[in-house]
């Protein structure tokens, strides 16, 4: 028997649009068609027609030539997909021994599994983690999320001691780069100096007395103050 989705459910494709829209909406309300096509690697007309479709399903707000945004229903649907994604990532790392740089691709596929029981069970087995392996918060069963108040390392000054709490993005390349510098979540860091010319920072942490990171990298290292 070919297992087919219940027709009141979003297709995998629709779920991917919602999720992308949700990510792009962080920190702002409205999103361009073009931003969405870039994020999904799909043409503008394709997004245009999908957006019309999602509008008829009450998942997005949209008027011709205007930017779009998620409705409350769409926001919740997206948050629940993100929940599945992040619980999966955490489960793969915590319970199955994967590295934080390996889990995104797998979670991209697993997040579309419909059984919420599977994900609630992961949640339970991990004792209800608050964040995923990259420090991003995990939405609860109702799609509510606690926005983290972490700040980019680049905002701090010399002498400041901080703890790495989350990442601004988690591309495989970035994660491998952090692995190569032995930098992981929870690591305490001290800012030794800042190069005024390009904003790069010299940091000290654990076994590493003096590691230099570009400003771009430091903007993606989200930290909290220590001491």
């Amino acid at each position: 028997m070919l297992s087919q989705r219940r027709k009141d459910m979003a297709s995998q494709t629709e779920e991917n649009y919602l999720k992308a829209l949700y990510s792009l909406s962080v920190g702002k309300i409205e999103v361009n068609i073009s931003e969405l096509s870039a994020a999904l690697n799909v043409s503008n007309p394709t997004v245009n027609s999908m957006v019309k479709n999602l509008k008829t399903k009450g998942l997005v707000k949209y008027e011709k030539y205007k930017p779009l945004s998620l409705t409350e229903k769409g926001r919740k649907a997206a948050a629940l997909i993100v929940r599945k994604h992040r619980l999966t990532e955490m489960f793969l790392v915590e319970k199955m021994g994967f590295g934080w740089e390996e889990v995104h691709e797998i979670a991209e596929q697993l997040e579309h599994v419909s059984s919420s029981k599977l994900f609630d069970r992961m949640d339970e087995l991990m004792d209800f983690p608050l964040v995923d392996p990259h420090g991003s918060p995990i939405p609860d069963r109702n799609g509510n999320i606690s926005e983290s108040a972490y700040e980019p390392l680049s905002k701090f000054s010399v002498g400041r001691k901080v703890k790495l709490a989350a990442l601004g993005h988690s591309s495989t390349e970035f994660l491998k780069f952090l692995n190569s510098r032995e930098l992981s979540l929870g690591t305490e860091i001290e800012i030794k100096s800042i190069e005024p010319y390009d904003g790069s920072m010299v940091l000290s942490y654990q076994n590493r007395a003096s590691e230099t990171f570009t400003q771009a990298v430091c903007e993606s290292l989200l930290v909290e103050r220590v001491g």
Copy 2:
């Protein structure tokens, strides 16, 4: 970024056709178009065109108006999907606390995840199980499977002591029925009597001194001799 399958890989739909064909091929070589449409709950013309497609991909052998069969390539591809399915079922039961009647639906979706690393990791964490929660053998990484030599309980005579080793099929209803009779894999069973009229059997096992099962049920209980 919309995650798309590599184009040399079978689509989820194609995978479902291969898997169905594989299941229907157990104990015989050739399969009818109609059997396949019934198994997949899809019309004959749909199967017909998909079979042509799978033929061009070298996965099935087929001539107009003749029955079909898997090529070696198709057989292996199918076995690897079955591997993913059965490892997932076992993992859900062994490592995540699901009941054997809950795991089929979830595994139907998970089996299409492309990462073989995920499934090899499950395999490792379970210490390489040979069978799934319903006693069906798990194909190895090369798609090879050890055909089980278990026989249906219905073939044995009064007085015989056997051990429940596997199930002929594992529909949710059947599994719930077995749960209600406290019958699980590994249980030792003695045949107390057989009703000549309808072939139903009275069995004794564990706490149950005398439970009656229809012939149909006994044909789906695969056992090995004990003592």
